[in-house]
């Protein structure tokens, strides 16, 4: 069986033929689109390493069947920066050293971008911790991660204010 879908990945439109309807978005990205920045930690929706944005919302790409994404807009870690300019969350992760081994980092960053967009956490550390608790970090870089998200949220909020002012 062959299924065709068409979706946008990091701004590029892609037409994809799927030979198996069970292919996950994660495998599609890693194995067929040469985008290995999104990581496979558990492949069963329990670690958050594979977090990407689909239509602006954060999801576990290992639990999402590619076939359901016809017409969707997908953003991965590779598509977050605007050319050489890092996204504020990426900059904050460097400044606050929000990682050790880095394996969870792409998922953490995409999750943080999603969380900030949800507008729920503000810069409340406690709520950020809750909101990020689906992204495991075995190195426990949680302190830097929380600070990075807090800082990025603040910076993005004030940039927005400046824009709307």
């Amino acid at each position: 069986m062959s299924l065709s879908i068409s979706l946008t990945v990091n701004g590029d439109r892609c037409d994809v033929d799927l030979d198996d309807p069970r292919v996950t978005l994660l495998d599609l990205l890693r194995e067929r689109m040469a985008l290995p920045g999104t990581k496979k930690g558990c492949d069963r929706g329990q670690c958050g390493a594979c977090t990407v944005l689909v239509n602006g919302r954060r999801i576990n790409s290992c639990l999402t069947l590619a076939v359901t994404l016809n017409g969707a807009e997908v953003t991965t870690i590779e598509g977050l920066a605007a050319g050489e300019d890092l996204h504020p969350v990426q900059t904050a992760f460097i400044e606050h050293d929000g990682f050790q081994c880095g394996y969870c980092t792409p998922g953490q960053i995409m999750s943080a971008v999603g969380l900030i967009a949800e507008g729920q956490a503000g810069d409340d550390a406690e709520r950020i911790r809750e909101g990020m608790s689906g992204n495991l970090c075995r190195c426990s870089a949680y302190h830097g991660i929380t600070e990075a998200v807090q800082d990025a949220a603040r910076r993005m909020a004030s940039a927005d204010e400046r824009k709307s002012a």
Partner: protein, 811 residues
């Protein structure tokens, strides 16, 4: 000066843009085959394999059973007792039985599931009790380290403290699972990319498996997505399997474990049962202690002997024991082969003595911290010339916890202050080496600083006042009970296998003045590459951008030891320094005449090569050295001095020095459910003169959280048939972002190491893990607040375990 700076991890930009490549991210060459193991479902059984359906499955290129490999490759790091595939008999549930190579990872797994496996079950030895009953063990009998007449000391003591503590295992759960990629090269050579802490061992084992010399195999490791000891030997199987299939088929071969397989196949932290008998006087001084450690090693030897040794070597932790006996049984069971895990047995040994301290305090009605202090080793005197002890950190002072709604998330809203920690410390001179201040294995403790560290931490975290507040709270509240505990860590630094304490490095300076650096250590997130690059940049007086860090490569630096035992920066930093200094000396010889100075007077700083007023740029000096036909490349080598150890007799100096730390944790438990939470943790940890405070603080926080996880939520459950039932993050709970203490302060004790380590720093990878013991001890205090009896809290202190302990306390 580029050392002692809080620089971020290397490759930071790559990490945040998804550009950092791990083994599974490397582009696979066309034609790559993918592997999967077929696993035993039974803990112990004679096995017959029906593999026709596997061979016929779609996309399968090759299937190898035990009969297809002669000789059978061995994967063991020690005793040659781990054939790649089980040979007729499976020894644990998860034991690899056969190997499938297919066109994709998924096709290989699908094919493996089609095997018809016949099992004739045999009696399995699963638990410590089973193994004791069957006398199933490694080595002929137990190892015993002894100091003084322990039986006499205990029988004369006015108070006897006796009990048992079960210490749980721990799954590494490195976020990047095990993986390897083997690529055949011309003339029978093999290049292996492996997620391994020990490239030289991969090289050695792959060469053996292929029947080739080591120079035919090149192993490369750029980075790992976490290791924690789980990639010291457990990657051997994948690398060997890939290389064997690559050699047979001539095709590149890749293997990675699915997460469940990773849990089920690979070894974990050893679980222990520790029985103790100790004699105390009325003031809380220990007169003698007798430990019997039962260590569950699993089906093969792996690294169990040195792990069990290190547990014995840390049975004293920070305490001067006048008489002690430590008996260690290394038990062989039909379970995963337990392996290295951050601390390498040390944490288990330490839990034993910390339990004894808490138990003695309970029996004697004394304050547990006072009992601990009364038993500390003697303090190294403060050097008169240098002040010791810093100012009190503002961040650690005056953070009263809210008194309402302690169980609710979000109740504690205080900015935590780590990351910009205050430093303490100062120089200490050596305690005269005396037999009286010696460990149970006869090593004199000459650098002990825990008296002062404990004092500082207790003062800054307001221990006494908070202890009183906890008691008040507990008197007033019947349901939620709080507990607070301050526990110390003294951790020995060096490989206990003395010959492993060596390292090599290779440094090139190119004509344009850029520097390329390579050493035997591997990067797994601990920040080793950055720290060592800081050393190189500092030796040459260059900014960090001028130094390129390259992947660990057995073709560049040979015969390396595993990146383990916290030794990475100590060993590789010194080796890189040696290489840089050799190049510096040659440059100095060349430019000395022009700068009108003795070569010895030339300094390298701020991109300049200088002698007094005269100077030239680094680039100019490099050009001159090159034109003078002088080599700008050097190797460096380092071997740790002064260590000597007889592991059979249990005598000598196994460690170059000790690293110290102390943590105070406050917890709350719900006595109706056993649910519990860490409210606040304060840490003061000794990194010597820190090479990179940001990285060190990250290691301390990460180690503490991992240690607290081990002792609280991380429970491994095997069923009666020996199958691991907790084989995914859904059932095995590691700490998440929200599990970190609500208030978390980390400060560095920044006194220089008295031993001549790299820039007088201290190793930091493993010691902080044991700071997590403070959480377990605080939980025990909270349980003890529920009733008059000894709660006998076991590990891991899950909600169930806490609830049971509350019940015991109430009687």
């Amino acid at each position: 000066m580029t050392v002692a700076k809080p620089l971020p991890h290397d490759a930071a930009r790559l990490h945040v843009t998804g550009g950092a490549r791990y083994v599974d991210d490397l582009p696979t060459p066309p034609g790559t085959l993918h592997l999967a193991f077929g696993l035993s479902a039974k803990a112990r059984a004679k096995v017959t394999l029906g593999l026709e359906a596997v061979r016929a499955s779609a996309g399968v290129a090759l299937v190898l059973g035990p009969g297809d490999l002669d000789p059978m490759p061995d994967c063991s790091p020690s005793a040659h007792d781990e054939p790649l595939l089980a040979m007729g008999e499976a020894f644990y549930a998860g034991h690899p039985l056969f190997l499938v190579a297919a066109e994709s990872h998924l096709l290989a797994r699908k094919a493996a599931a089609k095997a018809e496996i016949g099992y004739e079950e045999l009696d399995a030895i699963l638990t410590i009790e089973d193994a004791i009953a069957a006398d199933s063990r490694f080595e002929d009998g137990p190892r015993v380290y002894e100091k003084g007449d322990v039986m006499a000391a205990i029988s004369r003591a006015p108070h006897l403290v006796e009990g048992r503590v079960l210490v749980g295992g721990q799954e590494h759960f490195y976020l990047e699972g095990q993986s390897a990629l083997a690529i055949p090269t011309e003339d029978g050579g093999m290049v292996v990319h492996s997620s391994s802490q020990h490239p030289t061992e991969i090289q050695h084992k792959v060469a053996d498996a292929l029947g080739r010399a080591m120079h035919d195999v090149k192993v490369e490791v750029r980075r790992m997505g976490g290791g924690f000891g789980g990639k010291e030997s457990q990657g051997n199987h994948l690398a060997i399997a890939c290389a064997v299939v690559a050699a047979r088929t001539g095709r590149p071969v890749k293997m990675r474990y699915d997460r469940d397989d990773d849990f089920v196949v690979t070894g974990k932290r050893h679980d222990f049962r520790i029985d103790y008998r100790a004699g105390f006087d009325g003031e809380g001084r220990c007169l003698g202690v007798d430990f019997v450690q039962y260590c569950r090693c699993g089906w093969s030897m792996d690294l169990s002997l040195p792990v069990a040794d290190r547990a014995m070597l840390h049975a004293d932790n920070a305490y001067l024991l006048p008489a002690a006996r430590i008996t260690s049984h290394r038990l062989k069971t039909n379970t995963q082969s337990a392996t290295a895990f951050r601390g390498f047995g040390g944490p288990q040994g330490m839990v034993g003595i910390e339990r004894v301290m808490d138990h003695a305090a309970h029996v004697l009605g004394l304050d547990p911290l006072e009992v601990r202090r009364a038993n500390y080793y003697r303090e190294a005197p403060v050097a008169a010339s240098e002040a010791s002890g810093g100012s009190i950190s503002g961040k650690m002072k005056g953070q009263p916890l809210p008194t309402a709604d302690l169980a609710g998330r979000g109740s504690v809203k205080v900015e935590t202050g780590s990351g910009k920690a205050t430093r303490y410390g100062g120089a200490h001179s050596r305690v005269p080496a005396t037999a009286e201040n010696a460990t149970p294995y006869g090593m004199e403790v000459t650098d002990f600083i825990l008296h002062e560290m404990t004092e500082t931490l207790a003062r800054d975290c307001e221990f006494e006042a908070r202890k009183a507040a906890v008691a008040e709270w507990n008197a007033a509240n019947p349901v939620l009970k709080r507990g607070i505990a301050l526990t110390p860590v003294k951790f020995g630094i060096s490989f206990t296998l003395t010959h492993l304490n060596q390292a090599g490095a290779l440094v090139h300076v190119y004509q344009d003045g850029s520097v390329s650096m390579n050493h035997g250590g591997t990067e797994m997130g601990q920040g080793l590459f950055q720290k060592v690059a800081q050393v190189a940049a500092s030796r040459f007086g260059l900014p960090m951008e001028r130094v390129r860090i390259t992947a660990t490569d057995t073709a560049k630096v040979p015969n390396t030891s595993a990146t383990a035992a916290s030794s990475g920066s100590d060993l590789n930093g010194m080796a890189v320094k040696a290489a840089c200094d050799a190049i510096r000396d040659r440059i100095a010889e060349v430019v000395a005449a022009e700068l009108q100075a003795e070569p010895a007077a030339i300094v390298f700083e701020d991109g300049q090569v200088r002698a007094g007023e005269a100077s030239m740029s680094w680039e100019e000096a490099i050009a001159k050295t090159y034109m003078a036909r002088v080599s700008l490349s050097a190797t460096g080598f380092y071997a740790t001095p002064g260590i000597e150890w007889d592991r059979i007799a249990g005598r000598g100096r196994p460690f170059y020095y000790f690293a110290y730390g102390a943590a105070c944790s406050e917890v709350v438990i719900d006595t109706l459910t056993g649910e519990n939470r860490i409210l606040r943790t304060d840490i003061l940890h000794d990194c010597g003169a820190s090479l990179n405070p940001a990285i060190d603080i990250g290691q301390i926080e990460g180690g503490f959280v991992q240690g607290a996880g081990w002792l609280t939520t991380e429970e491994l459950v095997w069923d009666g048939a020996g199958r691991l039932r907790t084989h995914a993050p859904s059932t095995y709970k590691i700490p998440a972002c929200s599990d970190r203490p609500g208030v978390f302060n980390v400060a560095l004790w920044d006194g220089a190491n008295r031993e001549e380590t790299i820039y007088r720093s201290k190793a930091v990878g493993e010691p902080p893990l044991m700071l997590g013991i403070s959480v377990w001890s605080a939980l025990a205090q909270a349980c003890a607040a529920c009733g008059p009896n000894w709660p006998d809290l076991q590990t891991p202190a899950t909600a169930e375990a806490v609830l049971a302990a509350v019940g015991r306390a109430r009687g």
